[in-house]
């Protein structure tokens, strides 16, 4: 166990959380991320029992989740693996594919609503040019948000994960919190 102390993408010792009316924002530094791409002509594995989803979709298993990021490419995520070597762990359960560590390549911001999906939809309308009706539970997409590229993963009606490049963490937190505050504050 290293004696170096990690910080979150927002530069804090612990995950940042904020509440704006019915909307809650939470940084999820504990999520381990790795990209999985099939070798040419290879068949899709089922890491952690996940049936890797088709375009625009996400699957959520008990331990892990996956969302489609491109032809024969997915992002696999597991909570509680933020500081572990998640790519190595994934390699063990998914041999014969190309796996790249992405845990610190991105920052995962979880948006949850205490008042159902409408608040999430309203927040999306202020941030991304994606039809909320087309991003229901189990859907995922990549889009632009304030000049940043983000993944949006709709885990349920009342939960949306916004995943951006780690270096943009503060800019994304700012954009999310300003929009949430204007809607709910």
């Amino acid at each position: 166990m290293t004696d170096l102390t990690p910080v979150t993408a927002l530069g804090d010792a612990t995950a940042r959380q904020a509440r704006f009316g019915a909307l809650r924002l939470a940084e999820r530094p504990d999520v381990g991320l790795a990209s999985l791409a099939l070798r040419k002509g290879g068949s899709a594995p089922a890491p952690f029992g996940l049936v890797l989803p088709g375009p625009g979709k996400a699957v959520f298993g008990e331990k892990a989740s996956a969302y489609w990021t491109g032809p024969d490419q997915w992002m696999i995520e597991v909570p509680g693996q933020g500081t572990g070597d998640f790519a190595a762990a994934l390699r063990e359960v998914a041999p014969g594919v190309s796996i790249t560590e992405q845990t610190d390549g991105f920052t995962v911001f979880e948006v949850t609503s205490d008042s159902g999906g409408a608040s999430i939809d309203a927040l999306m309308a202020k941030l991304v040019n994606v039809d909320p009706a087309a991003l229901g539970p189990g859907r995922a997409t990549r889009t632009g948000l304030h000049h940043m590229t983000v993944f949006l993963v709709r885990r349920s009606q009342d939960r949306l994960d916004v995943i951006a490049m780690r270096s943009f963490a503060r800019a994304l937190w700012h954009a999310l919190s300003v929009a949430a505050e204007r809607l709910e504050g």
Binding site: M1, T2, D3, L4, T5, P6, V7, T8, A9, G11, P29, S35, A37, L38, R39, K40, G41, Q73, G82, T83, D85, S98, T100, E101, Q102, T103, D104, G105, F106, M124, A125, K126, L127, V128, N129, V130, D131, P132, A133, A134, H146, H147, M148, M165, R166, S167, F168, A169, R170, A171, L172, H174, A175, R182, G185
Partner: protein
């Protein structure tokens, strides 16, 4: 107070406001225009050129005259149309474009000089002397002619943007729009109903027509309530759809807080980008006037506007009790007479241009007559009616003018849609070549009668929905009638006095005639020469009348004359809202390095590199010049050890059984032969053979590489590699993904770098034998943290780059500082980084500009001839291969002085021309290692001219200096140190 009975104002909610410093009271539901009118204020502004007294002319966003500056201080908003400014308690407004008071404008003298200010006046008058234009003429003209002035203070309010999606966007909430929205809403379609007014209803609120034998506002309220209760319908009042863009995208501005004194914590306006599968354009129609002599006085209004003020706002212009006259060329004007009569307003009668015009009620009709003149200094007090050549003056308090209605074809004419002339309606209607998916309906489509508009709204919505596979239900419409609408083609009253066509720009019938005489025959030329149809109202009440006048002069028909091109925005849109609300620091998101906070805590200054903020230098107390800091940092690297965050360099993870072959094709030099555990410097070429980017490629495994790129090209190189894979060689088994952000990468450079790293790596032999120059490894540091170590050098010293998961970057930096304290470890920024690489002769973006070649860098042999790669063939083409400029070092001769980067290089004594130009200085700095200023540059045959003294010249700033050509490797030219 001039208030009538009735109206849709809330008399229980009085609102105080001020105009030009005087206090007045209106009611909730008023606009500033209706409230001023109700307070007897008819003079509200001065005209653009002649400073003529002007009053409210229309009742909507087409208003040309009643422009005011709303609010004060930084929130002052010039050129706000009083007709759409919703009244709120505490509203303050000022009139514009006058010197002295509004009532006694000193510049009214311009009106007496009006013969001077004819069409094309500016173009003709201020030709000479030319030097006077900027200093004298333009400022004077801008002061004399114009609109309101900006506060020149920063906008204190927040703005916002957003994105909406729907099946059907309904633009306008009048009869047609409400019927369309109701149809689509009941069909279950996702509907957005946008209207620029604060109250839905459109003309239904302004006419006295009954729906199902009840006031139309009852039906409007019922429909509004039903739509508001439907979860699939979004009603957006105060929202102007200003443009139609590609692929069913509509631009709209929602005025969220313009009806409040300040937005408080909220936003003032929101810019909406609406993606609609289909849209119904129910934007209504705009009434036109009939130009006649002196037709611009306050108290002369469009007839429909007069009805709107009477019916909706219960007010009228002019002296209370004075009779009102109507001037019309058709039946529609008679509605104003009927409505005013119903309100008990005394009528002079209706002046109808038609010989056989009939009265629709108990009032006098002046048949076959025209208005040929008006009187009244600050408002009309009398009009001259001419019938059969006999003129007679009549006292009036106000005059309503009805010249017919122009369907609001603006949005339907975006995308170069051309409106089509309808000879029965005497108006342009939307053409068939307008934006796809936009269905005009109601008055906007020439179906202006109340019953016709309702039915047409249902028709348009039904057709639009059918287009996307939605079946509309039967909608029962309320019983309505269409008022008679016969009309004569009567466009203006001929005469010798000025008859205004475009009020906002002070363009008269005479100006149009003059423009024609001066050969401005195209309607587009007419517009530019006279400024007709320009400025804030874009000629909404003027354009068609002008076309008619022009057609008459030229002997062509109106459709032959044609319209000018319609472009967004439909009405003015503030730049603040177009900006989308991101200002200052948040205008563009910043990318921060993993050690950003650590660097900030050390007092670093930062510099922007693309979206990144990088530490520029780390000044210490007492260092009062940036050079002191940079020299110290650079010396520390040369003599001890320095550390620098280089995370921003692009990192692309490349895997797959064909990864080596793929990289061989992407890099100009051989990459497939790279051994596992080794790094190689690589060059990428553009398709045209020029240099594209450089970086390193590390082989972590047989089928696993990590490519690094320059910071600036991280995105483009990754994109190009994806393109090469997906489009050029899809047969290769390659997978790639960016990992730039995933790893914090720290350069550890200097003779003591190995000693420092040995103190933190776990059980890895870093000796020169075990880990030589260009080695790489995956290892652990600091008790088990996974890391990657690359022995590469940008500075020319013994150096490494150490990568750890980004969350540990700041801790690693602190640990290196702690562990290397006795070694003199020093953090360095991009400035010292630049000095070190210039001293070593290493290239960056200044040398790799897209116009330079590998040969120029002295790396021509790196472009392998044993294999093909992107750009390789083109790099050998004639001309490019003959390129003789080579990278050289440059040192001042004589006194040391900075060598200006960008200087061009010449033989001593040669003239300074393109022909004698021998190259240029790419990078320059002060070198603490050399002890003088140095530079890099490209010079013709530079590799064979060592020791020659040439001239670096910067003719732009009159600089020139003698410089000696030296090796570009000022430091350790044999490359001993980095291999040590």
């Amino acid at each position: 107070m001039t208030r009538l009975t009735g109206g849709l104002i809330d008399r229980d909610t009085p609102l105080d406001f001020t105009f030009n410093g005087r206090s007045y009271t209106g009611f909730a539901g008023d606009t500033l225009a209706s409230a001023l009118m109700a307070n007897g204020v008819d003079l509200v502004g001065r005209s653009f050129k002649y400073h003529r007294p002007r009053g409210v002319f229309a009742a909507g966003s087409e208003e040309p005259n009643a422009l005011v500056t709303l609010r004060e201080g930084a929130r002052a908003e010039p050129n706000t149309r009083a007709t759409v400014a919703e009244l709120y308690a505490g509203l303050t407004a000022r009139s514009q474009n006058h010197v002295g008071t509004l009532e006694r404008d000193l510049l009214a003298v311009n009106d007496l000089l009006s013969p001077m200010f004819a069409a094309g006046f500016y173009y003709k008058t201020f030709m000479w002397p030319r030097a006077f234009w900027e200093k004298l003429y333009e400022p004077a003209i801008r002061r004399a002619a114009g609109l309101g002035a900006l506060s020149l203070e920063p906008d204190p309010d927040a703005y916002d943007k957003g994105f909406l999606h729907c099946d059907l966007l309904v633009i306008g909430a009048g009869a047609a729009g409400l019927a369309a929205a109701l149809t689509a809403g009941r069909a279950g379609a996702r509907v957005i109903l946008a209207d620029e007014d604060f109250r839905p209803g459109g003309r239904l609120l302004s006419e006295s027509d009954l729906l199902d034998e009840a006031p139309a506002s009852d039906w409007v309220a019922a429909v509004h309530a039903e739509l508001a209760a439907l979860p699939n319908v979004r009603i957006m009042p105060r929202t102007t759809v200003f443009g139609v863009y590609d692929h069913g995208i509509y631009g709209a501005v929602e005025r969220v807080a313009d009806h409040l004194p300040t937005p408080g914590d909220g936003v003032r306006q929101t810019l909406w980008r609406i993606t609609a599968k289909r849209a119904v354009l129910a934007a209504g129609a705009i009434e036109r006037h009939i130009p006649f002599a002196d037709n611009d006085r306050p108290g002369i209004l469009l007839a429909g506007a007069m009805r709107a003020y009477a019916n909706r706002w219960a007010t009228l212009p002019g002296r209370a009790g004075a009779p009102v006259a109507v001037f019309t060329n058709g039946d529609d004007g008679h509605r104003t007479a009927l409505d005013l009569r119903a309100k008990g307003v005394p009528l002079l009668g209706v002046v109808d241009t038609r010989e056989h015009a009939q009265a629709f009620g108990d009032y006098e009709v002046f048949r076959g007559a025209t208005v040929t003149g008006t009187r009244g200094r600050r408002g009309v007090t009398a009009i001259e009616i001419t019938r059969g050549g006999k003129a007679k003056w009549h006292d009036v308090g106000a005059l309503a003018v009805a010249g017919g209605w122009n369907p609001n074809v603006h949005l339907a004419s975006h995308h170069r849609g051309r409106p089509v002339w309808n000879p029965d309606l005497l108006a342009f209607v939307p053409g068939a070549d307008g934006p796809r998916g936009l269905f005009p309906a109601g008055a906007a489509a020439g179906q202006g009668g109340t019953g016709a508009a309702l039915a047409d709204g249902v028709r348009a919505a039904t057709a639009a929905l059918a287009d996307i596979g939605v079946t509309a239900p039967e909608v029962t419409l309320p019983a309505a009638t269409d008022f008679a609408s016969a009309q004569a083609a009567f466009w203006h009253v001929p005469g010798k006095r000025r008859a205004w066509v475009d009020f906002q720009n002070d363009v008269t019938v005479k100006d149009i005639t003059l423009a024609h005489n001066e050969n401005m025959r195209s309607v587009e030329h007419l517009k530019r020469w006279t400024t007709l149809g320009m400025a804030t109202d874009q000629g909404k009440t003027a354009n068609i009348s002008a076309l008619a006048v022009m057609a008459e002069i030229t002997g062509r028909t109106i459709p032959e004359t044609g319209t000018t091109v319609f472009r967004p925005p439909y009405t003015g849109v503030s730049l603040s809202v177009l900006g989308g609300g991101d200002t200052g620091k948040h205008f563009r998101p910043e990318r921060l390095t993993p050690t950003h906070d650590w660097a900030a805590a050390q007092g670093a200054t930062f510099t922007e590199v693309g979206a990144w903020l990088r530490a520029q230098m780390f000044p210490r107390a007492g260092e009062d010049h940036w050079r002191t800091t940079v020299d110290r940092e650079a010396r520390a690297v040369r003599s001890a050890v320095g550390i620098c965050d280089v995370t921003t360099l692009g990192k692309i993870d490349v895997q797959g059984t064909d990864a080596a072959e793929f990289l061989n094709r992407v890099y100009a030099n051989m990459m497939a032969t790279l051994k596992v555990g080794r790094v190689r410097y690589g060059l990428m070429l553009r398709e045209d053979g020029h240099l594209y980017d450089d970086g390193t490629c590390a082989r972590l495994g047989e089928d696993h590489f990590v490519v690094t790129t320059t910071t600036a090209n991280a995105g483009p190189v990754y994109r190009n590699m994806e393109f090469a894979h997906q489009c050029l060689w899809p047969e290769l088994d390659v997978q790639m993904i960016s990992t730039t952000d995933a790893w914090a990468q720290i350069a550890v450079a200097g003779p003591k770098s190995r000693t420092l790293l040995e103190r933190i790596v776990d059980d890895t032999d870093l000796s020169n034998e075990a880990f030589p120059f260009m080695a790489c490894a995956e290892l652990t540091i600091c008790d088990g943290l996974r890391a990657r170590l690359f022995r590469i050098s940008f500075s020319g010293e013994l150096a490494y780059e150490l990568a750890v998961p980004a969350r540990y970057g700041a801790a690693l930096m602190a640990r290196l500082m702690e562990a290397g304290e006795d070694l003199g470890v020093t953090p360095y920024g991009t400035e010292a980084l630049g000095v070190l690489r210039i001293e070593k002769g290493h290239a960056t973006g200044a040398e790799i500009t897209g116009q330079t070649t590998a040969s120029m860098l002295g790396l021509g042999k790196m472009v392998s001839v044993k294999k093909d790669s992107i750009g390789a063939v083109m790099s050998r083409r004639e001309g490019l291969a003959a390129e003789a400029r080579r990278l050289v070092g440059l040192k001042p001769v004589g006194d040391d002085a900075p060598i200006p980067a960008g200087s061009h290089l010449f033989i001593k004594g040669a003239s300074r021309t393109l022909e004698t130009d021998q190259g240029w200085v790419t990078s320059a700095c002060y070198s603490p290692g050399v002890g003088s200023h140095i530079a890099l540059g490209y010079l013709e045959h530079g590799d064979t001219r060592m020791g020659e003294v040439i001239v670096a010249a910067n003719p732009l700033e009159g600089q020139e200096m003698a410089v000696e050509v030296v090796s570009p490797h000022f430091v350790d030219p044999e490359g001993v140190r980095l291999r040590d």
